[in-house]
Every structure is written in structure tokens, then in C-alpha cells.
Amino acid sequence: MSVAGPDVPILELRNVSKRFVKKLDIAGRIARKLGAGIREEVVHAVDGVDLAIKDGEVVGLVGESGCGKSTLGRVVAGVHEASAGSVFYRGSDVATLTGPARRDAALKIQMIFQDPMSSLNPRLRVRDIVGEAPRFHGIVDAGGLDAYVQNILLKVGLDPEFVRRYPHQFSGGQRQRIGIARALAVKPDFLVCDEAVAALDVSIQAQVLNLFMALREDLSLTYLFISHDLGVVEHLSDRVVIMYLGRVVEMAPTDEVFSTPNHPYTQALLNEVPRLENRRRQFVPVKGEIPSPLNPPSGCHFNPRCPHATPRCREERPALREIAPGRLSACHLNDQ
């Protein structure tokens, strides 16, 4: 099924972009024909991202709302198709795969969503929510389905007796476990978790995070863990990727990002994270807000908010370069 050797990453993105284009309506098209300078609105949700994830790795993807982290996750999971660039699964370009190979690649990457209430069909029983995909794809036959579903429920820490219940009969944490069970039912080896614990209470969040880590051991899973919560990402990830307005600004092993952040945005972000250890602190805010992705600043996207911005930052887009082994950062300051 795969052409992979041991060194081929399980997933690789090469220069992946995702653009959302708002088409002109008929009035706009007529106006343009008549010479009005109206253009289609284009959002570069993801703008030229390169990322390779090794087998068994947990990569945390961090950024504020609107930075494109969820879109990138959806491109990885195959929910969106990339506008440009390619996604490789175990060395083969997903877009060029056909037939069963394509289906297998799609099944191997599963996604877990933020809000379990809106990602579970309220009118299906747990048995059907979890069992539909493996039944359809021929992973189990009808006779073995009940036992199969019960076995998966056990794995995610739910009582197998719950198979006949509906989603509304569960608490938030249990519902998230159903979402995880559904993803695991097709035997994936890569999970994209999009803010998977953001909607849960602190004590429940810890339970689900522990479940993620236990499953990683048991099923040798690889994770792309998308979150705005740096504490969660720090705890779980081997490597952290930081995005700002569609671009990756820094990528490095977790310890190094948190101890010596390189990019000014990373520094600002880490500075703002509330921590239990910091008491009665003086808050020093980053100025400004995330600019609209419809009209991003020229050059480095972070330049209007950056305390170190130079004229060059306003003109030239900094490349994501290796600044130390395994560490990449996109900032002109590293050239000096």
C-alpha cells in the first residue's frame, strides 16, 4: 500500500496553500465588465506551508483565531482540497492516488472536532455513529459489528452498554469520547485533533488528554494537535508549529519553543499565556489585533504589531529558515 521506507514521513505537506474565493455576484460581474475595479475577494487561509510529520510524532499546531490552523488541519484530513501544493501520505501524493489506495489513505487520517455535540448526528445511536464507517468500508461484517463497536468503546473508556444510546444522553466529556471512538473505528494511524479539548471543563479535559496519550501508546498513533491553548500543546507535543495569518512563523521541538522562542510573535504569544506559577503579574499587552486575512499587511504579516519591525519587514516576506538544527523561524532579525 505504501512505498515508504523507515525515513519517509507519515505525512508531508509541500508548499500547501488554501485559498477561499468569494465569487462575484451578477451585479459585480456586470460592474466589472463596465470597467469598475471590482475584484473577487480572496482569503489566503493557508499560504505556502511545508511540514513533515514523522511516524509516532505529536505535532502541536498553535495560533490565534483566523490564523488558518483549522483549515490546515482540514487539508491534512482531506476535508478540504489544497488550492496549491501537495499532501503526501507515506511518500505518495494523495491527489494522484486512485481507487482503493486513495480510500485507504483517506481512512488512515481521521479527524476529531471541537464540539462533539455538533459533530455527532443527534438522531443516530452510538452503535451507528461508531459502526457506520467500518461497516461501509468492510472492516467488519454485520454479525461482528456489535462486538466491534463495544470493543472500541472500551478502548476510549466508555461503558459498552451504551451502544444503544443517543448522543444527548451523554455528558460533554463522554461525547468527545464517542467522537474519538468514531475516528478510531476505521483503524487510522494519524489523527487530526482540531481543538478537541477546548469545549471541556478542566477536570474532564485532563481525562481526555490522558486518553489521547494512552491511545498513542496502545495504537502507535501520530497526532496533529491543533489548539489555541499553549498549556495543552506544551504538555502533549513533541514539536510545535506556530502559525500567524496563514503562514508558519516558527517550528521547533517543544522544549526549545517554550524556553527560547525565536520569532517575535511566538515571544509575544508565550508572554500572554496565563500560568499558575505567575501570580499578580503585570500584564504587558501586545498592541493591535490580528489583521484581516482579506487584506494582510505586506512583507512579514506580523510587522504592524512587532516591536522590532524594520523597513525591510514591510517589504519582504521572510522565509522560514533553519536557525539551529531542527528549529525553523521566519524572521528577518535572524539575518543580522
Binding site: S203, A206, E234, E272, P274, E277, N278, F283
Partner: protein
């Protein structure tokens, strides 16, 4: 400011707010007491369903049917406002006591411009002309760091980003210089950099104007950076109270200790988090005695009766039969 002799801005004594639903009585708030001094920040922490929001609503007299305040007293600067008439509450709300809600889109009227809403808020409580009210509104927005405030006043709420909208909501809450602000998860929906900006403004404000603040949240790490004192709520009761440093460094209640243990940043990376087993109980059929007993690793037969409040250290209160008083017992 000397705090030792100051009278509290707000004092809540044994407050009980119960909801009489068809399926039974929900004791959302069941006998809580706390007080806030001027210029101080009290953090009210709890998970969903612990009664922290209902506490805020009770103080402002905003509890709707089938809910009722069934016991206790709320004293604002010594005045009992527990069952105050609606006219008195209207004078207080917005002028003396203000509330900031989690979702600013629910606070702001979507079909009115910001200036209309702000002028209305000023003129409801102060006898000033329109021009003067507008000037106050502009100053209010500027104080919260909204650029080109004069132009932004003419905008509608949907034209603002989430962070800006919350700042407008806070600016409105501050317009009449209240003595007490109740903030109910105001930064939960915001990004960390925006949250940092708002915490900065709030902190400055309390220090400068002596406004007392009750900050309701589920996020212990925000409280750690912001508050002076902390009240931990569980199933409608305050289970632990004390100075932020003391409570976070040395929690007495097993629930507080468990909560602190479940915050990811405190634990060693990659190691399992200290999780609290089970889930928050339904307030409809609480077990007799301590509501936390089913999830508690120290629970025994004594927990079948509700623990009385004890004070193992000066300034600390805890409701537990088996508080983690000896340092070695703390499970983090």
C-alpha cells in the same frame, strides 16, 4: 490605600438561590458567603454547573423564574439589596454595580450604533446632556485602548471584532464608574493576546479607581495572574477560600488540589495529568453529604454528612472532613 479598616464593597452571607423546576429543586447556589474589598479582585472559580454564574446573577437581582433567592443576604456597602424593589435595583445596576458577560454580542444591541447605546447608558444614571455623554463615551473607549474612538462610536456592533466588542462592553460597564464589577468569563471566548490586553486594562482600572471586581471563570491560570483572593465553587457551594498564592500553592480541599493537578502546564510534559475521576454531579439529585465524595480519593463514611467550614490557617476556609492540611498529603 490602607485596606485593613475598609468596609467591604460587597458582602454575601449564606446566599441560597434555588430553581424550582418541574423535575425537582435545583440548588444552584446553596449557602455561600464571601466579601470583596474596594480595589480588590476576587476570583470565583468552578466548572460548568457549579453555580458561579448564578451567583453573579443573584447579586444583580437578575435571577428569573423558576429561580428564587431563598435565603441569605447580599449587602452592597452595608445596604441589604437581597430583595430590594426593582426601582432600587435599577438605580444600582449599571451605576454602582456593573456586569460584563461572556458573549459581548449578547450585551450589545445589534441594531443600534455604539454611541446610541453608550449615551443611553450614561443618561440612564446621570443628568448630563447628549454632547457631554458622547464625550464620556469617547473617553471610555479610549481608556480601553480602542483606536480612533470618535469614529468607532458611529459603528454598529457587527463591525467590531470579538476582542473589540468585548472592550466596548467593558467600556459601557465602566461608564458610570461603578464600585463593583462582576465579570462573568469575559475573556473565555478571546484569543490569548486579546485576553492579555483586557486583563491589563482591568488590572490597571482596579488599582487606579478602587473598583472591586469579581472575576468569574473556570480558568485557574487567569485567576493566578489577576486575583487577590480566590473562591473555589463546587456544586453550588464554596469549598475553599483564601489568598490566591496560598490556595494555589497549598490547596486544602481535594477538589482544588485535583483542579490544579489537571492544568497541563503544571505537570511534567508527556506524563499523564492528575485527573479527577468521574464528572460533576447533577444538581438535581446530589448525594447526601459532601457533593464531591464520589470523585474524592479521601472520601469515607464521615463524608455522608456535609462538612462544616473549618479554618486550618488564618484567612483560609475549607469545607472538607479530610482537608489536605499536611504538606505531604497534597496529591499534586
Amino acid at each position: 490605600m490602607s485596606q485593613s479598616q475598609t468596609a467591604p464593597t460587597l458582602e454575601v452571607r449564606d446566599l441560597k438561590t434555588h430553581f424550582f423546576t418541574r423535575v425537582g429543586v435545583v440548588k444552584a447556589v446553596d449557602g455561600i458567603s464571601f466579601s470583596v474589598l474596594p480595589g480588590k479582585i476576587l476570583g470565583l472559580v468552578g466548572e460548568s454547573g457549579s453555580g458561579k454564574t448564578v451567583t453573579g446573577f443573584s447579586i444583580l437581582g437578575l435571577v428569573d423564574e423558576p429561580g428564587r433567592i431563598t435565603g441569605g443576604e447580599i449587602l452592597y456597602k452595608g445596604e441589604n439589596i437581597t430583595h430590594a424593589p426593582e426601582t432600587r435595583l435599577q438605580q444600582l445596576r449599571g451605576a454602582n454595580i456593573a456586569m460584563i458577560f461572556q458573549d459581548p454580542m449578547m450585551t450589545l444591541n445589534p441594531v443600534l450604533r455604539i454611541d446610541t447605546q453608550m449615551i443611553e447608558a450614561v443618561q440612564a444614571h446621570q443628568k448630563v446632556g447628549r454632547a457631554e455623554a458622547l464625550e464620556m463615551a469617547r473617553e471610555g473607549l479610549e481608556r480601553l485602548g480602542i483606536p480612533s474612538a470618535a469614529e468607532r462610536l458611529k459603528a454598529y456592533p457587527h463591525q467590531f471584532s470579538g476582542g473589540m466588542r468585548q472592550r466596548v462592553a467593558i467600556a459601557i460597564a465602566l461608564l458610570n464608574k461603578p464600585d463593583l464589577i462582576i465579570a462573568d468569563e469575559p475573556t473565555t471566548a478571546l484569543d490569548v493576546t486579546i485576553q492579555g490586553q483586557i486583563l491589563f486594562e482591568v488590572q490597571k482600572l482596579c488599582a487606579e479607581t478602587g473598583t472591586a471586581l469579581i472575576w468569574i471563570t473556570h480558568d485557574l491560570s487567569v485567576i493566578a495572574g489577576l486575583a487577590d483572593e480566590i473562591c473555589v465553587m463546587y456544586a453550588g457551594r464554596i469549598v475553599e477560600h483564601g489568598k490566591v498564592d496560598e490556595v494555589l500553592d497549598r490547596p486544602f480541599h481535594p477538589y482544588t488540589s485535583g483542579l490544579i493537578g489537571s492544568v497541563p502546564s503544571r505537570n511534567r510534559r508527556g506524563q499523564p495529568l492528575n485527573q479527577i475521576p468521574g464528572m460533576t454531579p447533577s444538581l438535581l439529585n446530589l448525594p447526601a453529604g459532601c457533593p464531591f465524595q464520589a470523585r474524592c480519593f479521601r472520601a469515607d463514611a464521615a463524608c455522608k454528612t456535609y462538612p462544616a467550614q473549618s479554618s486550618p490557617l488564618a484567612g483560609r476556609h475549607v469545607c472538607c472532613h479530610h482537608p489536605l492540611v499536611e504538606a505531604a498529603e497534597i496529591a499534586t
